[in-house]
């Protein structure tokens, strides 16, 4: 056994897998969470709260469908409110999973292994929350499919110049690929669970999901190839989805939206918020399920570094936006970005955003801060809040004072706005609770590879 081996290519810092693990211990430990561990009070309580919030979402959406979008605070001129803010926020969060799984896989960053499954699941649930919002925010939501080109008696296609059509494609493609990628990665693990499940129901359930996986060499060979291909396919999506989401704004002529910097700055922001959300979730998970062996300080530190890097990118985006507004000398841009944001009606929110997204994250320059789990967790929460505020500032603050002063008006969210926002958080958490309980939150197969690669004898890390 590689009792004291440092795993991974880099030899410095903590290991990506605590010493002392073998194939069997990994499988035992991870599958036990699903198969043998009894329902615990913490899980039940957490799930109950999340489920309650989910029901808040259901009620508010049902009421929305009954009455119309007027139950929200949207008005003229702020026709897009919380729904679109939440959409962009969730889709941003949904970026971390694919980035971790696909891009880091292609870059052979082995440390991703213990967090990718969870991050992918998070992505999937975040995209589910995100995808809901554009649908329910429609005035006539039951006609949402008109955004897609389908054969119809009216002989009409969508209007291809509209970013919302691109958006519909981008988000649905991303959701599909994320789901496939996640599910494919799950197949060997659910096969393990099928084999280990004691109950009949579990065997059927996991057996169904495992799609006949037997773990033969041929299976593994095809699986690895397909997984890499999927990773290659998913990689451009990480960039494209949020680029297209940013076009929803950049293509419009609203001051504060109409800016070429939006695509890269949105992608950076998405990764920033995605990693923040991964940290927010994985730190408690690691604590409550005793997964410190698999999700080590090394992981947390690496994520903190990415958080810092993307945070700086985002701040650069803010800076450039302001600079271009000044340098471009467009009266409306200058008013919106240089005056209204820092000094206008919503200035406190803007400054809260700057503090959350730009200032707090600077603490991560210091290794001591990166290694303090509680600090890391609090910073990740701040970034989540800051990124939500960023979308609020972009969507609402830009709209509330555009060209005609006679139509300037504040936007005030209603109770239903908040209910929908927190309800979507509830849905997200409830899905995560179910996921952690019924599916392996860490990829057993890939963790076993890590052990394998760490073996001092044998064919080492170049077996792939």
């Amino acid at each position: 056994m590689a009792a004291d081996a440092n795993i991974g290519r880099e030899q410095s810092g903590p290991p990506v897998l605590s010493p002392g693990h073998s194939f069997a211990t990994i499988t035992d430990k991870i599958s036990a969470i699903v198969l043998t561990r009894p329902y615990q009070r913490g899980w039940i309580l957490g799930f109950a709260i999340a489920f309650l919030l989910t029901n808040v979402l259901f009620v508010s959406v049902a009421y929305l469908f009954m009455r119309g979008v007027g139950i929200w605070g949207v008005n003229v001129p702020v026709m897009w409110g919380f729904a679109i803010v939440n959409f962009v926020w969730w889709i941003g969060i949904g970026h971390a999973g694919t980035l971790i799984s696909a891009i880091l896989l292609l870059l052979k960053q082995e440390w991703r292994t213990s967090i990718n499954r969870f991050a992918e699941a998070m992505t999937l649930f975040a995209v589910a929350c995100a995808g809901m919002f554009p649908l329910i925010h429609l005035g006539r939501w039951w006609l949402f499919y008109w955004l897609f080109p389908y054969p119809n008696t009216m002989d009409l296609w969508p209007q291809w110049r509209s970013p919302l059509v691109w958006d519909a494609f981008a988000v649905s493609t991303y959701a599909t690929v994320s789901l496939l990628f996640w599910y494919m990665g799950l197949i060997p693990d659910v096969a393990t669970l099928r084999d280990r499940a004691r109950g009949r129901l579990g065997r059927y359930f996991y057996g169904f999901l495992a799609m006949g996986w037997r773990g033969s060499a041929r299976h593994w060979h095809r699986y690895q190839t397909a997984y890499l291909l999927m990773a290659a396919l998913a990689t451009p999506l990480v960039v494209s989805v949020h680029t297209i989401v940013s076009w929803d704004f950049a293509v419009a002529i609203v001051p504060g939206w109409h800016s070429t910097i939006f695509p890269p700055y949105f992608v950076a922001g998405a990764i920033y918020s995605g990693f923040a959300m991964v940290l927010t979730l994985i730190i408690p998970l690691r604590y409550f399920y005793g997964l410190g062996d698999f999700i080590t300080m090394r992981h947390l530190e690496n994520m903190a570094k990415i958080l810092l890097a993307t945070g700086l990118l985002v701040c650069y985006g803010y800076l450039m936006e302001a600079f271009m507004a000044w340098y471009g000398d467009n009266r409306f841009d200058r008013f919106q970005i240089l005056r209204e944001r820092p000094r206008g009606d919503y200035a406190p929110l803007y400054w809260l955003l700057i503090v959350s997204n730009c200032l707090v994250v600077q603490a991560l320059w210091f290794p001591a801060m990166r290694r303090r789990v509680v600090v890391l967790w609090l910073i990740s929460l701040t970034v989540n809040l800051g990124m939500w505020l960023e979308r609020f500032v972009i969507v609402v603050v830009s709209l509330h004072k555009d060209y005609m002063p006679s139509r300037w008006r504040m936007y005030f969210p209603t109770a239903w706005d908040y209910a929908t926002l927190f309800g979507s958080v509830g849905l997200f958490l409830a899905l995560l609770f179910l996921f952690v309980r019924f599916l392996p939150a860490i990829s057993m197969a890939e963790m076993r590879e890590l052990v394998h690669e760490a073996e001092p004898v044998g064919h080492g890390g170049d077996s792939r």
Partner: protein
Amino acid sequence: MTSERVGEDSGPRGRELWRSIDELADTAEFRDFLVREFPGYAPETLDLNTRRQFLRVMAASLGLAGLTGCAVQPPEQIVPYVEQPERLVPGKPLYFASALALGGYATGVLVESHMGRPTKIEGNPDHPASLGATDTFTQAAILDLYDPDRSQSVIHNGRVSTWDNFLAVLVAAMDEHKLTRGQGIRLLSGVVTSPTLIAQIQGLLSAYPEARWHIHEPAGVGADRDGAVLAFGEKLESVHHLEKADVIVSLDADFLAWGPSRLNDARGFARRRETVSDPRGMNRLHVVECTPSITGSMADHRLAVPGREVASVARGLAERLLDKNAVLAPEYSDWIVRVAADLQAHRGTSLVLAGEPQPAEVHALAHAMNHLLGNNGSTIDYIEPVAAVPAGSDHSLAALTREMDSGRVKMLIILGANPVYDAPADLGMAERLLKVPLSIHQGIYADETATRCHWHIPEAHPLESWGDVRAFDGSATIQQPLLSPLYGGKSSIELLAALRGSMGSGSRDLVREHWREAMPGDFEAVWRAAVHDGIVPGSASKPRPATSRPLADILGTVAKPAKATGLELAFRPDPTVWDGRFANNGWLQELPKPPTTLTWDNAALIAPATAERLHLTNEQIVVMNYRGRTLRAAVWIQPMHAEDSVTLHLGYGRSHAGRVGTGQGFNAYRLRTSEAPWQGDGLELRATGDLYRLATTQIHHNMAGRDLVRSANVAMFVADPSFAKDHENPATHGLSLFPSHSYDGHKWGMVINLNTCIGCNACMTGCQSENNIPVVGKDQVLAGREMHWIRVDRYYEGPKDNPSAVYHQPVPCMHCETAPCEVVCPVNATVHDAEGLNAMVYNRCVGTRYCSNNCPYKVRRFNFFQYSDQTTESLKLLNNPDVTVRTRGVMEKCTYCVQRIVKGRIEAEQEGRPLRDGEVVTACQSACPTRAIVFGDLNDSTSAVAKAKADPRNYALLAELNTRPRTTYLAKLTNPVADESNGG
């Protein structure tokens, strides 16, 4: 409007059909038509009096009972006409001339009727008080007609009764009073100009010589006449010719919005502002006023003083006109000196107008000043009073209440008035009414007065009954009904006939009987022409010479007002609900009031400086203590208001207005007293910690340095006629990667002249009526969701607390050539059509609202909820059948009245000719009293709109965005006195 106008010229068959309204209602085809057209409301089906009706309804109910099992369908019979009524072509509207009155004086209208149901009111171009235009009240009258809250039955002591029961009581009472020569009979009405009604009342008074007639008009028309008594020694009414006036001086006269000739005056005023060839021909307006009005907003020199001080200013002006060295009050001397010099430089072409809120003395001074300046006979004429003035003793409401108090009034008949609500508070009308043994109220609504009277008779709407009414110049109009009374109402003429014992006479017979003597020649021919044209030929009063007493004499007799201090309370009629009569009209409630843009409420308007002194903030509730009475009201800080004065508009705080109006706002009548109807001293304000949310449609009133409204004074304009264009960058204007679309047929466009727009909002109501625009309610206005397709923006210029100018800017859809809304719609719901319109396809819209976000002008409106009322039966009849009624979740906006364009095109095609310029008139354009809106084909270089676009003042809103709007503006000009024009 090219469609046929229909009157009584339909030949013998028409005569047979239309002998009386009842008979008309009883013809089989009309009955069938009613049942078919108004499924939810057919009076016959509800009235089960006759055996045949009963059996019919029972049979229908049984028959339909089976059908309702399948689907909920209103009972409906589709029966073809056995005989097609003449001229009734399904789908093609007919236009009927009539007139509607406000304060007794007529505005001539043409009413559009679809298959027997009136849907839209337009001005009658032949009528002097309309000239084709309308105001907001006239536009909104159609909603009153269909108001489901209208009184629907005779009420006796709170219980539903019948007209026959009422007649029985009435006949007995009248017989009894015959013995005392009518000693206990009192008649109370608003101002009456109807020749038939006047004759009837006079007939009644001669049959009952001891009976008395009293007149009560809360926003009364009478000060002008009372001033004439002082100046000329006789009762006269004035007729203005503003188009002849170079210099106009308003002494608190809101002549563009208030008064019998408001539309005529507005037109005359604007005619001297629309010219561009010679800007020196532009008139100059000096205004002194208390409450900012639309007239004040058009002033070239405006002075804001408390209402009580206007008399001092008028006096100072008179003194200055008489004596160049007169000593003037220092705070007003600048304004007075300037005005006096201007008036003296324009003898014979100037006009001094005094406002209704000013006492008769100020009116007398104005009359005498006009006389002195030689304006009498050129810019102002005098005619015999149009309104009836009851002969003999005091006919005021105060006299009536005194008599009621002493028990001398045995029987009170109230025609259309609502004194329990709108009488001055000191008269105690509500309590005194209970002392009258028999009180009868007739009104459109079962209002505050109705609930305190023994009998309430539902009144027929003017569009439901025959009648006649006169305009400010005496021109008479025969009012013809558009449909039989929806709720079985009776007109005042019918009630008066019943009082005189002639039962069963229809109003048509009564009106005809009256006019039979008054119309010379072939009566039938003259009658038909008069009904058809909407005006009785030759009925206008002839101006008569009037010589005023010398100005100096009048000055001598008018007591010098003592300089008052302290806070003044001014009462003014509300810009939208007027004296309260329109309180249940949702269109008017939701119409932003100029200049506050308040909707759904009135407020205590107060100048910024005064508010600061009293430490008051917007929307704060204050307790108003005024002459021993108190009222809680919300404060609204209004720039340009006179200091030391608080204005409270009348018409709010109704307790029995209906579902729309009850409980809105603050009841000014609870403070108003009969000795100071328009302003009085002695107001004290006590601030409370309470807040009251006021719904405004515009929150920011300065342009934030953006050149949205471009303006210059005449001198600057002469120096640089294209001043409005300087702001545009010609290098980027119209730049595009794509070749521009060519329009081979029509290419529609609009120009709005900011120099003639007076900000009256008639366009908004006209649009609302034409385009089935729903009312959303106060909470939705507060949320910023009002639905008006055209809005009038108001911007102040200058310091925030004391602006130097206010601008009105009507903003409909710009119909941009490169419309930002079109590219962002994912489902092609908003597209450009072949004639350049930015069209909105409602049934394709999914409601992403992206188009609204991307519209720089914010002219798009969204149905956040199901706003349009699709359940109230009577309101279904109101809708224009040519315009889709929108549902929840759909975006909508101005269409340039595409339905009218299509109608014009079809008519032209049928007649095989090209569409003529001016044939397609948008609803906002047709309503506009000053013709500030021009619409037409830009491809036709001779069209009015093409000419307007060639005007050097023409500019596009936010042209730098390269949206290339089709709606453009003509810059505003001001005409200050030359030596000050540098100051702008």
